[in-house]
Amino acid sequence: MKKIWWKILCIVLLLYVIINGLMGPVPHLPILNESIRNTYFHVALWLAMTTLLFTSMVFSVRYLSSGNIRHDDVASELAKSGLFYGILGCLSGSVWANFTWGDPWPNDPKLNGAAVGILIYLAYLLLRSSFEDEQRRARIASVYNIFAFAVFVPLIYILPRLTDSLHPGSGGNSTFGSYDMNNDLRMVFYPAIIGWILFGLWLAELRIRIKRINRFREEDFLKVDKS
């Protein structure tokens, strides 16, 4: 994980996304107008968040099967950076919705689902902070994390599609994928997703390393204390 190349790749991709995303050609659509460029930032953030939370869940499963506390560190920090993206996604979505749907928080199933999802992950952090014992905390939080992701996916991806939603792909609205997404958008959209995922991983990685340093120091301190 400590290799530098993917961080450089992340910076290059995001620079490309910023420059080409703001100035590259986009399809001309009514109401959306130039705000379609938000796809590269707002939509890509959500997809990156889902990836981060999924990876977090994978590490929770790995912790449960291995009992290695490091896997739990990874899971918790990935969940934190995913949550960070989720809050950013809600805020950026509010700005976008205000100018295209005329309301910063239209009571859209996808928005409410996302809000509930964020609360679920906040509860995850709360749960973690309520245990003193490390192994106990890790075990219970891991189980919770798996359930959290299992609830989170239907909340923001499946339930909104079953009812009327303003978001594309729901209740008779076309998805970006089938009609609106053209190759100009794809050229920036896919690098954007990868770039944001890498950036989230980077944030999480730094926090994991700091956590490990702290743990190492604590153990060192205990050793000195005993001798």
Binding site: I8, I11, L14, L15, I18, L22, M23, L206, R209
Partner: protein, 77 residues
């Protein structure tokens, strides 16, 4: 040494991206109308955002090397 290498890579990548933008301006006939003045100067905004982002990235890389140094000191693999 690592950090210098990082910054070097960064600069190369920025040059590669910006070189593209500059190359597009060469064939315009209007004098003084380079890309940064065209399109209602929106390119200036793009440049500012890019500069801010590069600043954030450099900051992240420095943080990265600081954490790495502490790890080396404590001999954490």
């Amino acid at each position: 040494m690592n950090i210098i290498k990082n910054i070097f890579f960064l600069l190369i990548s920025i040059l590669a991206v910006c070189g593209n933008a500059i190359a597009q301006t060469a064939d315009e006939a209007v004098p003084m109308a380079d890309k940064l003045r065209a399109d209602g100067k929106i390119w200036v905004v793009v440049a500012v955002i890019a500069v801010v982002f590069v600043g954030i990235a450099v900051n992240m890389l420095r943080l990265e090397s600081k954490v790495g140094k502490i790890e080396k000191e404590l001999k954490i693999k």
